[in-house]
Amino acid sequence: MKVDRELVRHLEILARLTLTEEEEMKMIKDMNDILAYVEKIGELDLHGVEPTYTVVEARTVLRKDEVRKGLAQKMALANVPAKKGNFIKVSSIQG
């Protein structure tokens, strides 16, 4: 897989980010480097090896349906960049 400008622009839309041309170039380089690094694993012969989906022991872990106290409202909103009343305020999403 090759990361090119078209792909980065597509990812910008998905991530709702707008990069400058300079940032895009840097992104293309960085992402290609990362992929090249990871692709090394492709050198291994993995025929007949099941994919590892989880490193956790394959045992079903379930929780009882019992209410546990979460965060107090004040705490929950403590690090929120913008508030209105007790709501989190965000800029409107267009489209």
Binding site: L62, R63, D65, V67, Q73, G85, I88, I93
Partner: protein, 488 residues
């Protein structure tokens, strides 16, 4: 060009049902929330804080399996969660934990009664996921800057997503399917099924096919359908719009459209298409869900009698028509109410008649289920017994029932308090009849001159004088006697 009407309509539905668990899908936060107090049932898990780890709610799995079994699905002994990645302010983690490749259940079906007979709507899959937060769009009038408010109390509430095959051939069928699905989810107590409040949501895919050429319109996804009526309206609107495709309308393209109930039309939500790139990958924080056969069998054993089975039983056990039975089982509460009444009053068809007319009208007017009213089976049974005894007429009984719905008083109390007891004393009625006859010599003459319909006038007058309390049968008889007795 004339519009053709023979295009085949193809509809598939995608339904989201909020499960009635006490806590969220992956954390112990309460699922109860009110809009007045946002961000109160939240924790690091459902707020998407770094390092927080999700743990699956066992009850959500049970409810999912229960729903799957009720919809005749095959429950997968191995299922798994995946991350569905997209950015939206109501999704704090930047991904939704859902099931993509290995859903909880597949290959089900639900039979529905259509105007053209019974048909099976196949269920492609049922999987579990988490709900997003609630987003409220606002625009500030002062600086016209638009912004949105986020409440994360809903974020993480368990959802069952149910996807059908495109098996519905009309908007009507889609509605029938939705109503039946809702009824089943309510029967098995996994979802309260409220479309208006969003605890049950429905998105629809629709396209049209020209049967002659096999040519198909682009597929449209219709969102934002929040009532059963709108399921039908939105899809009818969309089917009509799609017909224009065959006349060369270039505006009909593959897209997502939202139903606007005020404008009664669907509106393009362009720009959302590109987002349909969710880059799913396995959720590494949650081990696979491996179920044992015994677990599934156990849940199968917990399934209550479902609407179709109940309908058949009602027809056999109470000897009522299919039509009655299907209405009575259309709500679990109503079906229970019917059976409670029948246990104390052994004329099921009469109980059914009263439920289907008077009781249902009251429920519809109030927009509630029978268990949310002040009426119990004791009320209806007492009322019916009083009619049988002749204490009140059927007509009076209707107003007594209305009153009982309002106050919760027992029918006897109401009859007593309002002096509604039926007059069944022949002498008393005869006196009134005499008076009415004497006061209206002209009409008497008409009657005797052959205009027998004039009798209704006298009956009406007697009822008026007695405020509807006179025993109708006796009035009938006594009026006839008085009119036909030889002139003095």
């Amino acid at each position: 060009m004339k519009m053709r009407n023979d295009y085949k309509i193809v509809i598939g539905l995608e339904i989201h049902a909020q499960l009635l668990t006490k806590t969220k899908m992956f954390c112990g936060c309460s699922t109860e929330y009110s809009f007045d107090d946002p961000n109160t049932n939240v924790c690091p898990v459902c707020m998407g804080m770094p390092g927080a780890l999700p743990i699956t709610n066992e009850q959500a799995i049970r409810f999912g399996v229960k729903a799957a079994l009720a919809l005749n699905c095959r429950v997968n002994l191995y299922s798994r969660f995946d991350r569905k990645n997209y950015f939206y302010p109501d999704l704090p983690k930047g991904y939704q934990i859902s099931q993509y490749k290995y859903p909880l259940a597949e290959h089900g079906y639900l039979p529905i009664e259509t105007p053209n007979g019974e048909k099976k709507v196949r269920i492609r899959r049922l999987h579990l996921e988490e709900d997003a937060g609630k987003l409220i769009h606002q625009s500030d009038k002062i600086d016209t800057a638009e912004y949105s408010l986020v409440d994360l109390n809903r974020a993480g509430i368990p959802l069952a997503e149910i996807v059908t095959e495109p098996d519905m051939a009309s908007p009507r069928e889609a509605r029938i399917f939705m109503e039946k699905l809702r009824n089943i989810l309510r029967y098995i107590d996994v979802c309260n099924g409220n479309l208006e409040e969003g605890s049950l949501r429905c998105d629809a895919n629709i396209s049209l096919v020209d049967p002659e050429t096999g040519r198909s319109t682009p597929r449209i996804e219709v969102k934002n359908i929040n009532s059963f009526k709108f399921v039908e309206h939105a899809l009818e609107y969309e089917a009509n719009r799609l017909r224009r495709f065959f006349e060369g309308d270039k505006d009909v393209v593959r897209e997502t459209r939202g139903w606007d109930s005020k404008l009664q039309m669907t509106i393009s939500q362009r720009g959302k298409e590109e987002e349909n790139d969710y880059r799913y990958f396995p959720e590494p924080d949650i081990p696979p869900i491996v179920l044992r056969e015994e677990f599934i069998e156990e849940i199968k054993g917990e399934l209550p009698e479902l609407p179709d089975a109940k309908k058949k039983r009602f027809m056999q056990m109470y000897n009522i028509p299919e039509y009655d039975a299907s209405i009575l089982v259309s709500s679990k509460e109503l079906a229970n109410f019917f059976e409670e009444c029948c246990a104390k009053y052994d004329k099921p068809k009469i109980v059914s008649n009263w439920i289907m007319t008077e009781v249902l009208r009251e429920l519809k007017e109030r927009g509630v289920e029978i268990n949310e009213t002040k009426i119990t089976s004791k009320h209806l049974v007492e009322l019916l017994k009083e009619i049988d005894k002749g204490t009140i007429s059927a007509n009076t009984a209707k107003s007594v029932l209305e009153r009982a719905f309002e106050t919760g008083e027992m029918p006897n109390e109401i009859v007593e308090k309002q002096g509604l007891k039926q007059i069944s004393n022949a002498d008393e009625i005869r006196k009134i009849v005499q008076k009415v006859v004497e006061e209206n010599p002209k009409v008497v003459a008409q009657y005797r001159g052959g205009k027998t319909k004039a009798m209704a006038f006298f009956i009406g007058q007697v009822m008026k004088v007695t405020r509807g309390k006179a025993n109708p049968k006796m009035v009938n008889q006594l009026v006839k006697e008085a009119l036909e007795s030889p002139e003095e």
